[in-house]
């Protein structure tokens, strides 16, 4: 990692820590959600961007993580921070299990299967035999956690820092995975499936593991989201959640870690601005941006930033080289 990159990250982190103290509680809450989305997008990006498996159903893992946290807190009184690792484990397994039959599906067919999962999910969550657990159509309400050790901050600020800490952890983990052997195997499978297999990459294992890890990330995000919003209900987890994640990674940047952050900011804040125009406006904007990015800037914001930085660096180098 270059020195410049480390400085940038340090600056961003400092700003992030200072944030809750300079903006309103509601704004802080919005940024907490942006962090949650960043984790979810990182998960989806690992699967779709780095490993080439298209999922239109990651909302399902988000829902599983959210419901895991809510049920543990509501029915079993588990403290909020303990629900995160449980949600992670549950989704890791669920993702891995889903990844096994998904091995046989490529591209469009996998997209179709995950699409089907996402569309049928709210109906499954409303199933009356599961009502005792899921709270049925009404869902489950949970309480906002209080800051520990009587710290001099309010609940919203504490939740923000808690989420920030988890986000940092998840990002560092992802960075390690992606630049290690697993990451190289993932990309090899995406780019040249057959060659990867011929070179001894255990494609089935890697693909299922990637599904599992990706689901785990989105599940953790779901749990954090449930805690932040204090509420889970079946209709909040429809196909549009999965689509919003897709929007996030396309606009933020496929196969990019920083892209998860750009994408998260986009999907969190654009609806807030667009809502003022009309209820339908946010989605119309998402759709138009999706088309725009596919036709014009397929590498997303992260790609555009990378190119801009490269151009500026070249210019600076040329200037410096001038006699």
């Amino acid at each position: 990692m270059s020195r410049r990159q480390i400085i940038v990250i340090a600056v961003v982190l400092l700003a992030a820590c200072a944030l809750p103290f300079v903006v309103s509680n509601y704004r802080t809450f919005q940024f907490t959600l942006a962090l949650v989305y960043a984790i979810a997008l990182l998960g989806l990006n690992m699967l779709t961007g780095y490993n080439g498996q298209i999922s239109l159903g990651h909302g399902a893992f988000y829902a599983i993580g959210a419901y895991t946290a809510a049920i543990l807190m509501d029915k079993y009184g588990v403290p909020y921070w303990a629900t995160i690792p449980v949600a992670a484990a549950v989704c890791l397994v669920a993702g891995f299990l889903f990844g096994l039959p998904a091995l046989r599906l490529e591209g469009l067919y996998l997209a179709l299967a995950t699409f089907a999962l996402a569309v049928s999910l709210p109906a499954l969550l409303k199933y009356h035999h599961l009502e005792h657990w899921t709270g049925g159509v009404q869902g489950i309400v949970i309480l906002k956690p209080d800051p520990p050790f009587d710290l001099p901050i309010n609940a919203d600020q504490w939740l923000y820092f808690f989420t920030l800490a988890v986000t940092l952890l998840m990002f560092v983990l992802a960075w390690n995975i992606l630049r290690g052997r697993m990451g190289r195997a993932m990309v090899a499978i995406r780019d040249q499936h057959v060659a990867a297999e011929a070179m001894g990459v255990h494609t089935a294992m890697v693909k299922s593991m990637t599904f599992g890890v990706s689901a785990m990330y989105t599940g953790v995000a779901g749990a954090l989201g449930a805690i932040a919003i204090q509420f889970v209900a079946p209709d909040s987890f429809n196909i549009f959640v999965s689509i919003v994640f897709l929007v996030g990674i396309v606009i933020g940047g496929i196969a990019s870690i920083s892209g998860a952050i750009y994408g998260a900011l986009f999907i969190q804040f654009v609806p807030n601005i667009a809502d003022a125009i009309s209820k339908a406006a946010p989605w119309a904007i998402f759709g138009i941006f999706l088309l725009g990015f596919v036709y014009l800037s397929p590498m997303g914001v992260a790609g555009a930033v990378r190119m801009a930085v490269a151009r500026l660096t070249r210019k600076a180098q040329n200037q410096a080289a001038k006699p």
């Binding site: 779709t48 080439g52 298209i54 239109l56 039959p101 046989r104 599906l105 591209g107 469009l108 067919y109 997209a111 179709l112 299967a113 699409f115 089907a116 999962l117 569309v119 049928s120 109906a123 499954l124 409303k126 199933y127 009356h128 057959v194 196909i239 689509i243 897709l246 396309v250 496929i254 009309s278 209820k279 339908a280 406006a281 946010p282 989605w283 119309a284 998402f286 759709g287 138009i288 999706l290 088309l291 596919v294 036709y295 397929p298």
Partner: protein
Amino acid sequence: MDEFLRQVLAGLATGGIYASLALALVMIYQATHLVNFAQGELAMFATYFAWSLIDAGVPYWPAFLLTVAFAFVLGVLIERVIIRPVENAPVLAVVVVFIALLVILNSVAGWIYSYTIKTFPSPFPEEPIFGKYITSHEGGAIGVTMVVLLLLYLFFRFTPLGLAMRAAAQNPDSARLVGIRVGWMLALGWGLAAAVGGVAGMMVAPIVFLDPNMMGGVLLYAFAAALVGGIDNPAGAVFGGFLVGVLENLLGAFVIGNELKLAVALVLIIGVLVVKPSGFFGKVLVTRV
């Protein structure tokens, strides 16, 4: 026994609607090897168009025909303007474009017509005229579906343009060599698919009521139907549609309850994809290494 018959007939009625939408999906798949995720929203949008015509006083059947024409034109435009640039793009780009289309159509409908649920009229009378096991609308829907399917069959089988479209879908290079404008054949295919979808939408709207999200479940059943029949086989899609419709109703009424009916589609889709991707009648696609 009564209930059984009732469910089967109702299943055939919705099955006809699934068959139409599945056929539209297969038509586009045959020509482009792409799955049109936005097929449902296209149908919904056309149905809203019909609604505005009827709301403005246009009688049902003229509105129906105008809507079919509108849907056709919309389909052609979408293919030429939005799909053509990504014809040869990587899979992810294509999927994103389809999803974008889905989202745009859904939100524009919501913007123009709001999200409140509306009723959509049926051209068939209130009183049951086909016997006691089936409402007039259900019987009529089966009839309309059969007429549309028959017209399509005749078109593709016996007209030169239909032949040219089949040729362009099967072998675009050879089609060009006999002077067929393959690009326009694709656009025509989209137009027909959109028109068929519009008919499906107008037949289903009186049953599920009109709102921007009405086609989500229907689309899922249509996917299941198309996969069961073989995603590249039109006759298979029709068979699959009726099969899924009847299965959905029977399972829902007698086995798993109405809430989990959509899960039937999910299980069928994943089941077919994993166990026998070519469906009952499709060709097995072998990828060359």
